[in-house]
Each structure stands twice: as structure tokens, then as C-alpha cells.
Amino acid sequence: MRRFDNYVADYDINKRSFMEIAISIITGLMIVGALYAIHARDLLSAVIACGIVGYGLVICFLLLKAPDLAIVQIVVETITLIIMVAVVLDSSREERYSKPDAQGFISIATSILILVVLFYFFKISIESLDAFGSGSLRMAGPYIEGAAEKTGSANLVTGVVFDFRGYDTLGEATVLVTAVLGVLTILRIKGKK
């Protein structure tokens, strides 16, 4: 089992520049897809363009060596896309367009203001961050060191998710149950008579 220091060292020296370029290209593609999804008149192509964002994220996860996340993302993205396509095919394919009135211009101005403020704070926070791929959180070391002996799990992610961070996982599962209850409450109004 490799030590934590070695892991960080060969991570940021060899692959860093390639990784930065690849992830920048994929992120740019995702932004283009999201912009197209907003402006497309045909709702079916807008839904498909949303898929670019999800599958681009899958490739980013794989490049960053997170196969657990990539599996979940690719499956959830596929099922969401199927449901969205079914909904679009069943309702209308054309987006309704109306000219913005006074309230619309106020909303546009507010969102531009929020965007500027967010970019300002992003710029401040990015300057204080480490370079991409180097540096790690304070808790990452203790998790990687000897996690296999502590939890008995060969897959570190499962060890963290169900052992060290069990509360979080229980919360996620509960959120899923609550979401299903909400969907049933809204959609099954007629219920079982």
C-alpha cells in the first residue's frame, strides 16, 4: 500500500499539465452545451444538450480518478435523460416565448448583478487556493493512512462513506425516501380508491 506522501507527489508532477488542459476543454464544452440548452427552440434538442453537461462531468470524474462517482453519474444521467425525453415527447416540443416586460428587465438586471458579485468573490477565493492537483485537505491524510486496516474494506470510498461518514450516508438515504414520499404525494392525488 502506497504512502500518502508518495500518492500526492506523483499525482501533481507527472499528469498535472495534461489534466488541466483536458479538463479545461471538457468544461468549455459543458458550458457550450448548457448555453445551447437555454437558447434552443426545440425542447428535445435542449434536453439532449443538457446531456452534454452530465456526460462531460463523467469524463472529468474519470480523469480525476474517481470511478465511484463516474459510475453513479453515468447511470443517473442516462435514466434522467430517458425520463426527460419521455416527458418532452409527451408534452409540447416547442418552447413558449414571450417578450420580457418591466418585471423581466428587473430580473435580468438582478441576475447580472449577482453574476458580477459571484465572479468577484470567486476571483478572491481562487487566488488563495493551492495549484490544481497539489495540496489536500487536513483530513485526507488520516483517512488514507490505514483505512483498510480500520474498516476492513479494500475500496476506500466505501470505507469512508459507510464507516467514517456514516451519518452523511444515512442522511442521503433519508433524503431519497423523503423525495419519493413527495413525488407520491403530488402525483398520486387520486390515490388508491
Partner: protein
């Protein structure tokens, strides 16, 4: 919702079982290889969604199926909570205590409680996603009647 053509139906017959087995594999090997309860559960739900989409909604009794998935979802989350609490009952007063013997790292039966957590979270996620899908399909059927 109507079924699709005979080509799609035949391909689904060949593929759906393999997808189902792959989901079970991902769940059971969750503590050894990438994946786990969440990923495997969504794959399991995907195999059922594939069947319902290709064979149409009168292929199975949707309302009966939905009652079953709702029950399994609630039972599975109950078992997860019980497993988490079981550490309190065994002796040490720790929530989410991994009290079963750890075994050898890398074997299929190892890591104490973690495979059990994976299995029940997998059942819970699969039945949750299937319930949401079935609720949408039933809603559409009721609207069109």
C-alpha cells in the same frame, strides 16, 4: 404507454437480465471495487425501466408493482437504520459501529457490516427510483383516461 417494435422487445429480453446481474455484482462487490449501493441500485432500477419502456405499461400490473416497491423501500431504510443502531445495542456506545469481525482485506466476505449496508442501501435506492418512475407512468395513464 404502448410497447415498442419486436426488435426492441427481443433485444430487451436478451439484455435486461444481464443488466440486473451487473447491478447485483456492483452492489455485492461494493467494498472491493468501485461502485456500491447507490450505483448498483440505480442499475437495478434501470433494468426494470428498460423492461417497462420496451414492453409497454400493460405488460405488468403497475399499481401492484408500485405497492411492492414502496414497501421494499421503507423496509430497506428501516434495516439500514437498525444496522446503524445495532452498534449501540452490542456494547460500545457508538453510532455506526462496525462490530462484525473484519476478516481479510480484499476477500468477498470481509469488512464487517459494510457489505450489509451496501446491500440494503442498494435495495432502497433501486426501489426508490423505480417508485418515482412508476408514479410518473401511472400519472400519465390516469391523465389520458
Amino acid at each position: 404507454m404502448k410497447g415498442m417494435t419486436v426488435i426492441v422487445k427481443k433485444t430487451t429480453q436478451l439484455i435486461a437480465g444481464i443488466v440486473f446481474l451487473y447491478g447485483i455484482y456492483i452492489i455485492i462487490h461494493g467494498h472491493l471495487t468501485p461502485g456500491g449501493g447507490f450505483a448498483g441500485g440505480v442499475i437495478l432500477a434501470g433494468s426494470f425501466i428498460l423492461l417497462i419502456l420496451s414492453f409497454g405499461s400493460d405488460f405488468i400490473n403497475l399499481t401492484k408493482e408500485e405497492a411492492g416497491t414502496t414497501m421494499y423501500e421503507n423496509l430497506a431504510i428501516l434495516v439500514v437504520v437498525f444496522l446503524a443502531v445495532s452498534g449501540l445495542l452490542i456494547g460500545a456506545r457508538v453510532f455506526f459501529l462496525n462490530w462484525l469481525p473484519k476478516g481479510n482485506v480484499g476477500e468477498l466476505v470481509s469488512a464487517g457490516l459494510l457489505p450489509l449496508f451496501n446491500i440494503f442501501v442498494g435495495i432502497e435506492v433501486a426501489s426508490s427510483i423505480l417508485t418515482i418512475f412508476l408514479a410518473l407512468v401511472i400519472f400519465k395513464e390516469e391523465i389520458s383516461e
